[in-house]
Amino acid sequence: MNVAAIQQYLDIAYIAAVVLFILALKWLSSPVSARRGVLAGEIAAGLAVVATLYNPELVAYKWIVIALIIGAGIGIPLGMVKITAVPQRTALSHAFGALSAAMIGIAEYYVGLSHITRFEMGEIGMEVIIGSLTFTGSLIAAGKLQELLPQRPIVYKGQNIVSFSILGAAVILAVALVINPQNTVLFPIMVVVALLFGVTLVTPIGGADMPTVISLLNSYAGFSASLLGFVLNSKVLIVAGALDGSSGFILSVIMCKAMNRSFTNVLFGAFGTIQTSTTKTEARPVRSASAEEAAEILTAARKVVIVPGYGMAVAQAQHKLREMHDILTKRGIDVSFAIHPVAGRMPGHMNVLLAEADVPYDRLIEMDEINPEFPRTDVVLVVGANDVVNPAARLDKNSPIAGMPILNASEDQTVMVIKRSMSPGFAGIDNELYYLEKTLMLFGDAKSFLTGINKELNTAGAGA
């Protein structure tokens, strides 16, 4: 077969891959067809990789094979991590994706050095800058999520000025390269400056903002792949990158809305201005209850809503919650789970954590759907969540979380909160919900407390 004919077959394979990519995302719309979506994606990827290996431009396979084996060796263990570790795995995969795009962009610069046009240099410059900053930014995010780096926002005076000066320097270097693409001294400096900017971009951001940051980095990683497609004239990369980029973009907008942050805030990633709360917690009386009392209240209820937060996952209490769901459901009590968009550490994280514990997904209800249900609910059980049920978001204009959409837990009959102590949550603010007349605090470790309630429920059930 001649080279042109092979090239045609390769193009057909890539077009098929693009079609399958789109179908994969379409099928992901519901849990029923989602596995088919993954399969479509796998076939597309497999097809594209195998087709590429037949590319007539390839002259040596040794390093390709070695790198593929190394890649599989890294990828498989990263595919087996615990569900609680999925956010850091995801951040790491954004880092790898961006690294890959940046490396290819850099290689492309040196390959075309003798005949590179200004226009091509502009494309490469942009691609390499976004790829590099996404690489280091994602590594920092992964480090924070893995708790290798401090979770709290690391801020210093004038930090936004420093960050944007670094970005400005990278852009100026890129412009200088467009004017003179053959300047091989400036190119590596531009890469290093862009890498540095990624560090300064994400370092100041605190743990509570990680769902937004991950989504934003997702978007950057996607768009850097798209830009690479422009550099290489590869439509398959442009499409895959655009799909990934728009997905990350939509998710970051959803996360922003869920935390009441502005749209410009997302685009420029300037979350550096998080205020440290000064609210002091004075000792105020709360009502507390035992596992036995909690079990009695649950048994008397007709409709129960559970509000899980990341604290539940930290305490490994999701299996106990599912047990409780099973016991209560068997007695004809309506039990559902209210999922706030930022519950967990990345978009949708709480759903996966509960699905892993075998909670049926039709019991996981999103915020906008569950909020009208609260006035008809007898008992709300809050486990390891805090800010997402804090009425201050609606009532106190001066609160750091003012305007953030919350789960209206206080509108029901009785609220029970499982909590280790009265210490405030991520945003560092006190929660009025705990001091309400209808609220019972269940002090203790979530897992052991739920075990206690379940035991009471079971003995009460056996007696009846």
């Binding site: 431009e57 390093w63 226009f119 990369l237 990158g241 997905s247 892993e356 999103e366």
Partner: protein, 98 residues
């Protein structure tokens, strides 16, 4: 502007709109698998990495290319693997009873 750029821009814009349309319809239940799946799809940059590596032009491009192959292929393998693992965890109430 080069002609290639214009046609690439068309593709990019259309793909962006398709992406928006599709992703808006993904249930929030599946936002975590969505991110890992799009990440695995994005790992298609491995094809560009393979070409750079296999052209065997200079030691520098082979090194950069091989790093890119390893990084993106790990995303491809790990991304599909974990997405499938997560999606298998989602069971409906009806499926559970039977």
């Amino acid at each position: 502007m080069p002609a290639d750029f214009i046609s690439n821009l068309y593709v990019f814009i259309l793909a962006g709109f398709v992406g928006f349309g599709l992703i808006k319809r993904v249930s929030p239940l599946l936002h975590t698998p969505l991110m890992s799946l799009t990440n695995a799809l994005d790992a298609i940059v491995v094809v560009a990495a393979i070409i750079i590596t296999g052209r065997h032009e200079t030691p520098l491009t082979v090194t950069l290319g091989a790093i890119a192959v390893a990084a993106s292929f790990s995303n491809m393998v790990g991304g599909f693997f974990i997405t499938d693992r997560m999606i298998r965890m989602f069971k409906s109430g009806a499926a559970k009873k039977s």
